[in-house]
Amino acid sequence: MKSAVGDAPASSFLARNEFLIRRLHSLSGLIPVGAYMVIHLLTNASVLQGSVMFQKLVYQIHGLPMLVAIEWLFIFIPILFHAIIGVLIIRGSLPNSGTYKYGSNYRYTLQRATGMIAFVFIMVHVFHMHGWFHFDSWLIAARKIGGAQFWPYNAASTAARALSSLPYQIFYVVGVLSCVFHLANGIWTFGITWGIWVTPQAQRWATTACLVFGLALSAVGLGALGGFAYTVDVETAYERENEMYDERVKIGDILPDEHKRYHPPAAKASETAQAPTYLNFEP
């Protein structure tokens, strides 16, 4: 059934492997990206149980070996793959929910809109909190323009400070809700893509399950944001975190690591000639 045309341009790599790439895109949305997002939001929501609880979980994560490799291999690269293929998919579609006003068609359009919002949100969010890269010269530059505002060994206090302004709070609420909708609706389409829910009854059941999941995860995500923005007292949290750090260093649970600790600008007074500002620390 091959076409008789000899001079037809050869299909690109993306086109020839369209099926596998789309399935990989679908899978990557759920595992690892979606699974990571659920764990991430749940971890963050632990701040509702106090800054100490959140700091404990952050120590657990930072106890993992080769954290940078894990970050890139299981989080950043899959997100970038999913996002880049996602943008290509969006470019090849013609949303028409203005004409064909069906629930599933609105969700189709929203899946694309929330994907684009999630892309912008995740890029900015990772820069804002984490900074993307760990080397010193980069971090110093990033911090000058408001990036890398999260210090893992002063977790709750620095996250709370980063989320203290209203514009950031609004940005995070929109971003988190977009990501949650995108994941919940994505699980629903994932089930059809892979042939898990096939019949209309099964699909209706899945719609309800995904709705419940989405509402629950929204509560977790908003809880985390509200927790950081409104329940953390930055000063006391900061003192507690420093006590935890000293204790952990003393019993040999962690190695001293000033890179992961926040040092208020006030400490500048004791600045030494070579050390970058954020490395300053007064025991």
């Binding site: 045309v5 579609s93 064909y100």
Partner: protein, 286 residues
Amino acid sequence: MADSHHNPNASHSARSFEVRILRQDGPGQPSYWERHRVEYEPEMNVISVLQRIAAKAITADGKHVAPVAWDCNCLEEVCGACTMVINGQVRQSCSALVDRLLEDRPGEIELAPMAKFPVVRDLVVDRARLFRALTKVKAWVPVDGYYDVGPGPRVSPATQEQSYPLSECMSCGCCLDACPQYLKVEVERLEGESAADFEARANNEFDRSFVGAHAISQAMLFNSHPTGATSAGPRLDALMAEGGIQVCGNAQNCVAVCPKNIPLTTSIGRAGRATTIHQLKKWFGA
């Protein structure tokens, strides 16, 4: 013309209504809107409206124009030839009743050609790609041969029940026109190109673009037929090739607009499962 027939039960009193038509003189030409006025008669459908317009061939502004071209055949919603976009929604014009349309939008009807197929003229489109997709997925039972192979296996009642609704597809293309993942592909014939070369080039383009819900559903229909299943593998291969099932984005407009109520999204789910298993088998044998 039809005052004496005026239906006193009709909910609206207007004696004439306006028909806005998106016209196009030929392939690749610009399209333009044209207004026509049609005297109301009871129980008209859009085909009879188009007949009145063609008979008069005068616009609402009194300009003489070439009659509007359209397609139709069975006049009972089984051939799909008359499919067009009526008041923004794709459907068959033979079963689009004027009384209903004027209830939804008083005084006016809007007609446009299908949005995803190349326009031949006015409301006539070329749906070659739709049929090419059926060829691509081998939407038939392979029984051609030189000798009698005897009776085929029996089809179980359960399979019959599942298959019958799928067999009602009339290849109208509504599911494609409403699909946000199905984009228009228009191949223009080159200067001096033979018909065969042009067709081959067009088919090559079509094969790279989304096959569409109708073809996915037909592939499932013939894969569940005991004799058709002998080509199940090649059909799944076709569904996994470029432009295959993976292009579907699960908007489910197809199932919502299908005039035959074919469970297209169930077929898409089944095809999703079948292609998953097919790929695993290809990798790991068995």
